[in-house]
């Protein structure tokens, strides 16, 4: 899905914990999420810490959208 969206001209970040699967599929922008059951969170943290983590992960993903294809 990430590949097709990207092909259609929509920059797409695939957030996943299973990075190798995404790489094999050929996704362009891959971000490693926290764990396979909760890519955007961590239930072992307290609520405030988890909120900060979530925000940081979302911002990181948004930053990746700005990257040009093929750029490091």
């Amino acid at each position: 899905m990430a590949k097709e969206l990207e092909r259609g001209g929509i920059p797409t970040v695939h957030v996943t914990n299973l990075v190798s699967v995404s790489e094999n599929t050929g996704a362009k922008r891959i971000m490693s999420g926290r764990a396979i059951h909760h890519v955007f969170g961590d239930p072992s943290l307290d609520a405030d810490e988890e909120r900060r983590l979530r925000r940081q992960l979302v911002e990181q993903a948004l930053e990746m959208l700005k990257e040009q294809e093929g750029a490091p």
């Binding site: 914990n17 299973l18 990075v19 190798s20 699967v21 490693s32 764990a35 059951h37």
Partner: protein, 418 residues
């Protein structure tokens, strides 16, 4: 390590005044068994049924299937840690009631449908449709935590299994089977040393196995003796059922049995590593390297067979372990179920080193169950996306027939290049 299974074949199963085993006939006192199972505080009531091959009966929402086992209580419980006191597994003699199943059923959070049909095409696809079964359907005490009730349901299956097999105490078995395996180097043979790497489902309550009662979530890849798995060290606590192994499968572990059978014939069964399916990629990668090191340097294997317990994320473990083992110089064979919807890939992950794989079947392959049932046990509708007549004709993915696809090799399905 010498382990002996004393086999007591069951030809018929029925209710009666006294619970006893006599020459292949297993009689169960329903009230006594009920009282035994109500010892679980979170179980308010329990419905018990007997099913037989050929019955027009369908069992829904299957949670686990257990083979009845008994051993001298001085040597712990047949399922140590998971039910009753701890003792080392895989030593001495354990009694087994052959050809009979204790089936637990229940609807728990995020359960997936698992069906046993006692007649028709569904029964032909699974050994559990071809043996008499005692179905345990507990009702949760109001207000109980679903996870805690799930554990009580799991223990109820084990309790019923011990209750049935206790009938063989003091009796002479029909036959005994010895599993003798001394691990370690034997200089007198040139046969190839084959190790086994067994991944185990391990994502928390209801999505895990228990190893001596401890969640597989909390273990690291470890060298264990194969006899331990044949003797109740590992039990299932999972209600996301299809394509994960039931306790009955592990107790009769087809892969371990086959490696035992061929030991000192055309290979040396060098030993095994029990590993878990970690929840993060980093842990998966570290676990794969760790397992490969144990197989290479502790088990001293030259070749490895790897099986998994689940799908999707489990493919990543399989491939990481394949790569780690091959890079450690071990020839590696993978055993895997497939998830091919048609023209798509059948695994979510593939490593370049994966050049020897055995398929145990394609999960989404549709089968049509067209037998009309007189009795449906466990629920009045299918779980998940399955649409159809609960007591009549329905088309379902073959994976939802429990036992049709056995990740450790006990099923008869496979897939070949077309």
């Amino acid at each position: 390590m010498d382990f002996e299974l004393a086999h007591f074949p069951v030809r018929s199963l029925c209710w009666g005044a006294h619970t006893e085993y006599r020459e292949g006939e297993l009689v169960v006192n329903r009230e006594a068994l009920r009282a035994e199972l109500l010892a679980e505080p979170l179980i308010d009531d329990v419905e018990l049924s007997i099913v037989r091959p050929g019955d027009r009966t369908r069992i829904l929402h299957v949670v686990d299937i257990v083979e009845p086992r008994w051993k001298d209580p001085e040597r712990g419980s047949p399922f140590p840690g998971s039910l009753g006191p701890l003792y080392q597994c895989g030593l001495g003699r354990t009694h087994a009631l052959d050809g009979v199943a204790v089936v637990t059923s229940g609807s728990l959070p995020r359960s997936e449908e698992a069906i046993i049909d006692m007649c028709g095409p569904g029964s032909e696809l699974s050994r559990f449709g071809q043996m008499p079964g005692l179905v345990v359907l507990p009702k949760a005490r109001e207000g109980s935590d679903p996870g805690a009730f799930g554990l009580a349901l799991m223990r109820a299956g084990l309790r019923a299994a011990v209750f049935l097999a206790q009938t063989t105490q003091g009796l002479e078995p029909a036959r005994t089977e010895a599993f003798s395996l001394d691990l370690g180097r034997n200089a007198s043979t040139d046969l190839p040393r084959v190790g086994y790497l067994s991944f185990s489902y391990s994502h928390g309550i209801g999505r895990q196995k228990l190893f001596y009662g401890k969640s597989t979530k909390d273990i690291v890849p470890s060298v264990v003796h194969p006899n331990e798995l044949l003797d109740g060290a590992l039990v299932n606590d999972g209600y996301t059922k299809p394509t994960k192994n039931a306790t009955h499968d592990i107790l009769n572990h087809p892969m371990i049995r086959e490696l035992h059978r061929r030991h000192n014939r055309d290979l040396v069964f060098a030993g095994m590593v029990l590993a878990n399916h970690y929840a993060t990629y980093e842990e998966k990668a570290a676990g794969a390297w760790h397992a490969a090191r144990l197989l290479r340097h502790v088990v001293e294997a030259e070749a490895v067979v790897i099986t998994k317990d689940g799908g999707g994320q489990a493919d990543v473990d399989l491939m990481l372990a394949c790569r780690a083992c091959e890079e450690a110089g071990l020839r590696t064979v993978l055993v895997a179920k497939e998830e091919s919807g048609g023209d798509g890939p059948s695994m979510v992950d593939v490593a370049p080193q994966a050049d020897a794989m055995v398929s145990v079947g394609n999960c989404p392959e549709k089968v049509r169950l067209d037998e009309s049932m007189e009795l449906v046990i466990g629920g009045d509708g299918f779980l998940g996306a399955i649409q159809g007549d609960v007591s009549g004709t329905v088309e379902i993915p073959v994976q939802n027939i429990i036992g049709a696809i056995d990740p450790i090799g006990g099923s008869t399905l496979t897939a070949r290049p077309g």
